[in-house]
């Protein structure tokens, strides 16, 4: 029941925002998101899945019995962690948009809440059709958020975003239906239950079938992540989206792709994933380096952070396809960390943009003199993003690299990648340090540069207001916490990772036998 509450609370909030007067919109949205956050924390405290592979918050009701679709909700530890991340980022997004949104406010906050409900439903789904419906539905609010509240190029950005993701997920839908059909052939009845289909697909599909399903599912999830070369919608969408949109896009929506890989691709198709992992890992590494190099030459800070997301998510996918517990731990941790630090960077850029109405690094810079508090946070979150030891980014990035490196070795962490993957990905880390520090150097330090025509900060003070600081503090605290005590998260998700890798062999020595047996 609690699962339903977590989805229904934001929806209820959206409904109230829609019918109440405009002046109450922000307050109502804040209350609704805080209530949802409270409920999520309560659910997390009572959650029975931490550390083991069990599903908590379970709820199941039959729906379309003829084709085996049921309303099944529930979360394992990884899903719960992502629900927590969502619930945390939402009130911050509302608070962060407090003054930035001036027109059509009701719709803005309404869509934001609808988006929260959809994202939560994605993580809580235990039926593939429910997952798919929620996964697709996230497009609608985001489409409106970009298309109505975005900057100059918003129409193109929103349509590109929609069509890319929509196309990918339709192909994924075909793959899902195929698995369900194969299940029905075998068992004589239809089912879309994730557990049942996963167990079935892991052994019941031929190599050829599994390859087709892998390609179909990856078409959907790779676009969402986004993986090179289907990443081109992301920088555009990020740059044009309003601040809250960018934060949620980077913080949660991209994770839907990696979560999809974690939840479906890895456990469903073990044999072919082993075969295809190096190929996908190569794409990730290319993405890491290529997007990093693009960041290096950006003048638009928002675009820079957007491309850095492509680069960072490359590490995330690399960790997943290392196919060992270490990589999966690193990858899941990366999903959380990237949501925190990149989310914060988008907030910071939004706050700067609200004051100067430009994102051009050549026009604005040396802000340490004008906005010392903002600059402190900027340096902090850039360091977290770069992977400074002691802050959160380091742990996850290191784990992903180590997993890719150790793979291929028959030691404690078997896998299918190898040192070369880690070596090239590590180049990406160096590039990340270069472009992010260059950005800090230009934006924070040096001589003060302000665009000549900027009117004296409208209603905002020169430096951050208490409201804006309130937005950033929780993110900063979590960055430190997950930096010094990453086991808080990694221990909690152990059981879920064991389940995801259940179909894989114990050591790499058996991987080849395993693949030979699959043919």
């Amino acid at each position: 029941m609690l699962a339903l509450v977590l989805i229904a609370l934001p929806l209820l909030g959206a409904l109230i925002v829609a019918v109440s007067p405009v002046r109450n919109a922000r307050g109502t949205a804040l209350l609704a998101t805080l209530a949802a956050f409270g409920a999520t924390v309560a659910a997390a405290i009572g959650f029975e899945g931490w550390g083991n592979g069990r599903f908590g918050l379970a709820l199941e009701a039959p729906w379309l019995e003829g084709v085996g679709v049921s309303l099944a909700l529930g979360a394992d530890s990884v899903a719960m962690l992502l629900v927590l991340l969502t619930a945390l980022l939402m009130p911050l997004s509302v608070l962060g948009s407090w003054t930035a949104i001036t027109a059509r406010r009701r719709e803005f906050f309404g869509w934001l809440l609808v988006l929260q409900a959809a994202m939560t439903a994605v993580f809580l789904a235990r039926d593939i059709v429910v997952f798919y419906v929620a996964f697709e539905f996230t497009l609608i609010p985001m489409y409106f958020l970009i298309a109505i509240y975005g900057s100059t190029n918003r129409a193109r950005a929103s349509i590109k975003f929609f069509i890319y993701t929509f196309t990918g997920s339709l192909v994924a839908l075909a793959g899902i239906v195929y698995v369900a059909w194969a299940f029905a052939q075998e068992h004589g009845h239809w089912s879309f239950s994730i557990e049942q289909l996963t167990t079935f697909a892991a052994s019941g599909l031929s190599m050829h079938e599994a390859t087709m399903v892998l390609l179909a599912l990856m078409a959907g999830f790779a676009v969402k992540v986004p993986l090179f070369p289907v990443h081109t919608w992301l920088p555009l969408a990020h740059t044009e989206a309003p601040t809250a949109g960018s934060v949620i896009l980077a913080g949660v929506l991209l994770k839907l792709g990696t979560y999809g890989i974690y939840r479906f691709v890895l456990p469903m198709l073990p044999v072919v994933v082993v075969e295809w992992a190096p190929f996908i890992a190569v794409l990730s590494v290319v993405g890491i380096i290529y997007a990093g190099l693009i960041c290096w030459v950006q003048r638009d800070v928002k675009k820079l952070v957007a491309y850095s997301s492509v680069s960072h998510l490359g590490f995330c996918v690399l960790g997943l396809f290392a196919l060992n517990p270490l990589g999966l731990q690193g990858s899941v941790l990366y999903m959380i960390n990237h949501g925190l630090s990149t989310g914060a960077l988008f907030f910071l850029i939004g706050m700067m943009y609200e004051r100067y109405h430009t994102r051009d690094m050549t026009a604005v810079g040396g802000l340490a003199r004008r906005m010392p508090v903002w600059s402190c946070f900027m340096v902090f979150f850039v360091l977290a993003s770069v992977g400074l030891p002691g802050l959160n980014g380091f742990v996850s990035e290191f784990l992903c690299l180590l997993a890719a490196f150790a793979a291929g070795d028959a030691g404690a962490y078997p896998g299918v990648l190898g040192p070369w993957f880690a070596a090239f990905a590590a180049v990406g880390m160096v590039i990340a340090a270069m472009y992010l520090l260059r950005m800090v150097g230009s934006m924070v330090f040096g001589a003060l540069r302000e665009p000549g025509d900027h009117h004296e900060h409208d209603q905002l003070s020169a430096d951050l207001t208490p409201r804006e600081i309130t937005v950033l503090i929780p993110l900063a605290v979590l960055c430190v916490l997950l930096g010094v005590a990453p086991w808080l998260a990694t221990d909690a998700i152990e059981g879920s990772i064991t389940n995801t890798l259940a179909a894989y062999p114990e050591s790499v020595a058996t991987v080849h036998e395993f693949m030979a047996g699959g043919r």
Binding site: V67, V133, A147, A155, I163, F166, L170, A174, A184
Partner: protein, 498 residues
């Protein structure tokens, strides 16, 4: 006593005759009751059908799908009411207003208002009759009864030359297609020696068991499928659709988008059941290939055609061609894997969504003329908020976006097609859905997000309030229908259970 199977059709006929009489009354208040008469007729018919749905005598004897009637009947009557409301005030509007202004005196010989409702009801009656048809001759008559009135309705819908041109094109091409499938029927008779569908099925079953269905039977069925493809606006018989749909007034276009299409799809299901799918088998390969190619071509051409349009109405016309492609995919999947059931649900979902989209167009006018171009729509939200949202929700449902009913219809079609082994076709359909996002999104973005232009500010509400209200009601139904989907699916499964 034999249960009077044709009562629903007879009620519709009685209603049509009443309309013809009421329509020539010299009192305007009496003539204004015409839509009411039509609606009452349809409500009575629908009630009759739903009350007696379970009665043994409601089965069409000799038909290959005997239990199809009640579902199709209720859906037809329900959508019929919606279409009548949408069309209220379409026919003869200029003449009526001239009479009201006292410019001309009312002349029963000149009015066409009553006839419009007569034809509308007869066409719906034709659709009912398709499911009751037990032999080829009845089937032919039912199909033509569905189509012939629509030719006249197109011509009557507006006084512009375009409507007449559209009607002529529609009529001549329609006549050609009728000749085509009639020829096919003749060959089928030649091949089996019977016109009754159930007996044909028996003969074909024997032939198939004895080593294969003869060339004449296959050729007859090929011609029949192609000819009936015209009703569906399926490639290669789709070329008329864009011109005809654009030429007719929007409410009539909504009618064309559903009624003949449903009749065609049902007729294909009835006919193809005689020649294939025996004992959980498949269709003969030639027919299977034909349907596959038609489905793939229809959806692809329809969507690409729609993508190229600058007129919203023409865009919707092309898109309705694409939807026929999806429907053909369901027919190809066959009855055993839920293909026919999916087609029935999809027809309903598509009928509601398509009607809602055309209702939104019909709810607006600019300078006394219909709104057609996309240039009329920017920023519609500001002055016509609900209509703009109707358009957006209808487009979303046509696109097949969850959680709207269009998505569920499409999902069922996909499942059925995968289950029948046509995976490549499903991938083509998925890619086509993606293509269609390109233009359906325009119908969402332009009214909701666009900035109003000088031109779009001139858009005002249409004279009749009904299209607007019907559109809103349909949009709400598109949102709520998924809640009753389990019930619908149960009903549909019961139809094909035996």
């Amino acid at each position: 006593m034999v249960f009077p199977l044709l009562i629903p059709e007879l009620i519709v006929l009685a209603g049509a005759v009443t309309c013809a009489i009421v329509g020539v009354s010299s009192k305007r208040s009496v003539r204004d009751a015409l839509p009411g008469v039509a609606i009452v007729t349809l409500v009575i018919t629908g009630l009759w059908i739903s009350i007696f749905a379970g009665v043994e005598g409601m089965r069409a004897p000799g038909s290959t799908l005997q239990t199809l009637g009640p579902w199709v009947g209720v859906v037809t009557c329900a959508l019929g009411v919606v279409l009548v409301l949408l069309n209220a005030g379409t026919a003869d509007r200029e003449y009526e207003s001239a009479v009201a202004a006292g410019k001309v005196t009312f002349d029963p010989l000149r009015t066409t208002r009553g006839e419009f409702y007569v034809f509308l009801l007869l066409s719906l009656g034709g659709l009912l009759l398709v499911t009751a048809a037990s032999d080829l001759i009845w089937l032919f008559l039912a199909l033509e009864l569905t189509s012939l009135p629509t030719y006249v309705m197109v011509a009557m819908s507006r006084t512009q030359g375009r409507a007449q041109e559209a009607a002529m094109k529609y009529f001549f091409l329609g006549a050609m297609s009728a000749a085509l499938f009639l020829y096919g029927f003749a060959l089928l008779y030649g091949a089996t020696g019977t016109v009754e569908l159930a007996s044909m099925q028996a003969v074909f079953t024997q032939q198939a068991a004895a080593g294969g269905i003869g060339v004449m039977g296959i050729a007859g069925m090929l011609l029949a499928v192609l000819g009936i493809g015209f009703k569906l606006a399926a490639a290669p018989m789709h070329l008329y659709a864009a011109d005809v749909y654009e030429g007719a007034a929007s409410p009539v276009t909504a009618f064309l988008g559903f009624v003949p299409k449903a009749a065609g799809a049902l007729a294909l299901m009835l006919l193809l059941s005689t020649i294939g799918w025996f004992d959980n088998g498949a269709l003969p390969p030639v027919l299977s290939v034909l349907l596959w190619v038609m489905a793939a071509l229809t959806m692809t051409l329809g969507n690409i055609g729609a993508l190229l349009q600058t007129s919203a109405k023409r865009m919707l016309a092309w898109s309705s061609i694409a939807h026929s492609g999806y429907i053909l995919m369901g027919i190809l999947a066959g009855p055993h894997v839920g293909g026919f059931g999916a087609v029935l649900v999809y027809l309903l979902a598509y009928g509601l969504s398509n009607t809602a989209a055309f209702a939104a167009l019909a709810a607006l006018r600019r300078g006394g003329a219909e709104v057609e171009s996309l240039k009329d729509l920017p920023g519609l939200r500001e002055q016509h908020g609900l209509t703009a949202w109707t358009m957006a929700i209808a487009s979303g449902s046509l696109l097949g976006f969850p959680p709207l009913i269009g998505f569920w219809g499409k999902l069922l079609l996909f499942i059925a097609a995968v289950a029948s082994g046509h995976i490549v076709l499903v991938v083509i359909a998925a890619l086509n859905s993606a293509i269609s996002a390109g233009y359906y999104l325009k119908l969402v973005a332009i009214p909701i997000m666009g900035e109003p232009t000088a031109r779009s500010r001139e858009v005002e509400r249409a004279i009749s309030p009904w299209p607007r209200l019907v559109g809103i009601a349909l949009a709400v139904s598109l949102l709520l229908m998924p809640l009753v989907l389990p019930v619908l699916m149960q009903q549909v499964q019961r139809i094909f259970a035996n």
